[in-house]
Symmetry: C2
Subunit: 121 residues, 2 copies
C-alpha cells in the first residue's frame, strides 16, 4: 500500500500549489523548503510514479527539460513566451481537431502549444 511520507506529501503539495508546470529541480526547491534534506532521487521517483498513475502529466518543450503539472487540472494547453520563456496555461481548446488526421487514423487526444509574446513582454 502507498504510504504517506513527509516527502511525498511535500511533493504533492508543491504540485498542487504551483500554478504552472514545474521542472524536477523546481519541485525539489519548493518541497525542500518543507522537508530539509529531501533528495532529488526521491523527487524523480515520486514524479515518475505520479505520471504513471495519472496524477501528473509531463509537459515537454523543445530544448528544455520536462516539466510536470497536475493531471486532473482538466484538459488544457500551454503558451510559451518567446521572450521570457515562461509557460502559461490556456484553458480554452479548439474542438475540431479530429478532422485533421489522415483517413483511417483515430484521434484520441491532442496536445497544443502556442508560442508568442506574453502580456508582460
Amino acid at each position: 500500500m502507498e504510504r504517506s511520507t513527509r516527502q511525498r506529501l511535500a511533493i504533492k503539495e508543491a504540485m498542487q500549489n504551483a500554478g504552472r508546470p514545474l521542472l524536477a529541480q523546481e519541485v525539489l526547491d519548493v518541497a525542500g523548503q518543507t522537508v530539509p534534506g529531501l533528495g532529488i532521487a526521491t523527487v524523480y521517483r515520486n514524479l515518475k510514479a505520479m505520471v504513471e498513475d495519472g496524477t501528473l502529466r509531463q509537459v515537454v518543450l523543445p530544448g528544455e527539460n520536462p516539466r510536470f503539472e497536475l493531471g486532473n487540472h482538466g484538459h488544457h494547453h500551454h503558451f510559451q513566451c518567446n521572450q521570457c520563456q515562461k509557460v502559461f496555461d490556456i484553458h480554452s481548446c479548439p474542438s475540431d481537431l479530429a478532422m485533421l488526421a489522415p483517413k483511417g487514423f483515430r484521434v484520441e487526444d491532442h496536445d497544443l502549444t502556442l508560442y508568442g509574446r506574453c502580456k508582460d513582454c
Copy 2:
C-alpha cells in the same frame, strides 16, 4: 565559412530522405551507412547547428528523446500512435488558434500533436 564535409552531407541527406522525425541515434545509423566511422558527437554538433540556423526543427514528445525533421518542410503537425508509438506528419492545420490565447498575449506560432491509433493499429 561553412565547409561541405562528407559527414555533413551525409547527415543532411539522411534528414532529406527521412519521411519522419529521426532520433539523433537514427541519424547516426543512416548517415553512418554512407560515412563509416561517423561519430555521434559529429551528429549532435551538426543537428544542433542546423536547428539553430533553422534548417531543422526539434520534435519532442513526452518521455522520448528529441527527434529532428526538416524545418522548411512547410508548417505541419504530428500524430503519434498510442499503440506503435510511430510519429506521422499531418499537413493540415487548424487556422483559428490565435483566439485561444488570453487577452494581451500575441500568438506567433504553434505546435500541435494528435494522439490516437494509426491506420495500421
